[in-house]
């Protein structure tokens, strides 16, 4: 129980922390399955495949609220995409989606004062 509470508090601590240098950006924006939409300002830092699933990592130079809004709007505005569930807490948010023949989740975590990490998981539907 303590471990999970500590993790939660640690997440919230990120809201006050100054940001260190951001991770290196990919040289070119990756083409994600199903033409998954780009949120304005997203900087991609890595893309990998875990079996059938594509996982893209990156960040937005924003706090959690605007970052969540950016992805919510991007997904809702993309042709053929739906937000199936979304949720926001103090330091983290999730936007679950279906579209482009895939389903998945955008997981957002504010890691410092002005940066939110983004993990996009895209699975074939």
């Amino acid at each position: 129980m303590l471990a999970a509470c500590e993790l939660d508090d640690k997440d919230k601590e990120g809201l006050k922390k100054d940001c260190s240098a951001p991770p290196a950006a990919l040289k070119s924006a990756p083409r994600l399955p199903g033409n998954f939409p780009r949120a304005q300002g997203i900087v991609y830092t890595a893309v990998r495949k875990d079996g059938p699933t594509t996982i893209a990592s990156g960040y937005l130079a924003q706090t959690i609220g605007p970052a969540h809004d950016a992805y919510s709007h991007a997904v809702k505005g993309a042709p053929g995409y739906d937000v199936t569930k979304e949720e926001q807490d103090a330091a983290d948010a999730e936007v679950n989606f279906a579209g482009g023949g895939n389903t998945g989740q955008v997981k957002l975590l504010q890691t410092c004062k002005a940066r939110t990490s983004v993990t996009i998981t895209i699975r074939p539907a």
């Binding site: 129980m1 999970a4 509470c5 079996g51 059938p52 937000v83 569930k85 949720e87 679950n96 279906a98």
Partner: protein, 404 residues
Amino acid sequence: MTRVALIIAMTLALAACGGSGHAHGKPLVIVVNAPFTRTPYLGRTIENGVRLAVGEVNAAGLRVGGTSYELRVQTKDSALSPARAVSNVRSAADEHAVAVVDEGTGIDASWRVARGLPICIVFAGGARAVDPTTRPNVFRIAPTDHGVAFRLAEYLIPKHLRIALLHDDSDYGSAGASALAAAFSQNRSSVAVDETVPADALDLGPQVLRARRAHATALLVWGRPATIASAIAAARSSGWDVPVFAPPTGADPFVRQQLADHPSWVNGLTFAAGRLTAEVGPGPFTSFEQRYEGAYGVDRVGVKTRAGQEVVEPPETAMYAYDFVNLLAAALLKAGSVDPGKVTRALEEVTTEGANGDERAFNRSSHEGVVDDDVYFARFSDMTYAPVKDDPLSATLPTIDQTR
């Protein structure tokens, strides 16, 4: 209205309707359609989850459209028979039940005979069972087979294992076979053998031997608890220490009961399931578990740890059933009516706080209450399980105490 505001509004509305704390009013029946005789643990835990929420809703009072109601629970045994499950749902509709909480057997036919009555599946995860467009009255709060199969593929394929996929010929196993076929379709080189086995078979020696001869380095067994126990027994009794992976049925007490004479055989069994705790931590789930145990006692697995402690099963499926009843109560208030069509539509518009502190909600584009990314992995040791450390989500989750 934001979701948080809606949760608060619904909670206040339920509380505001409260009176003396004693239920009075017109009976409103929730039918629990589950395999009480064939898989007693599953049936009982679904029923208990429903009864716990019903007690709390009734204690707060439920006033819908100017009439006071008292929720009641009626159980019907499906015996894992699709025909019986369908018959049960038909009679629930005939008897004007307000909703059915369902294990999932027979849903491909029962949704139609329900005549608009909302049905919530709290166990079976089959892909076609839930579709807001073609089956608007069917909802689910349970991990989907799609989520479990893809999460297993994501976890296992990067480990470069050669996986034997064994699935039994039950409805549950067949649905799992379809989900696994999709999840491994892009990585067939990871599959050593893909075989259907008889459900509830006592001896899976020949099938497990074929997997071994195919140079499998992992077994992924998707089936009823008896199938998983038989596969483990066949592998271990032949001296094959292959890692075994399973869907949520791997955690069913029956698996451990069947292998109780050889507790070490259970060690290492890894299963995928819906996370028990949310981002807020284990507090809300622990509180739910305490209320559940206070009302119905612990769900004893029937085995002990090496130190002699009694092993108990956390009420995961009960949590899903409990959450649906709370969503149903919120939907009744929102609809201002007990009309099945209106309640079904209202179920797409309400949000409640689930037993684990996470939001539970459906909407027009999704009738799924558990997202695929909430599937985690846990591994057995000494008859209890703990989240694995080599998966990003699982590594963040606390271990729930399973001894008393």
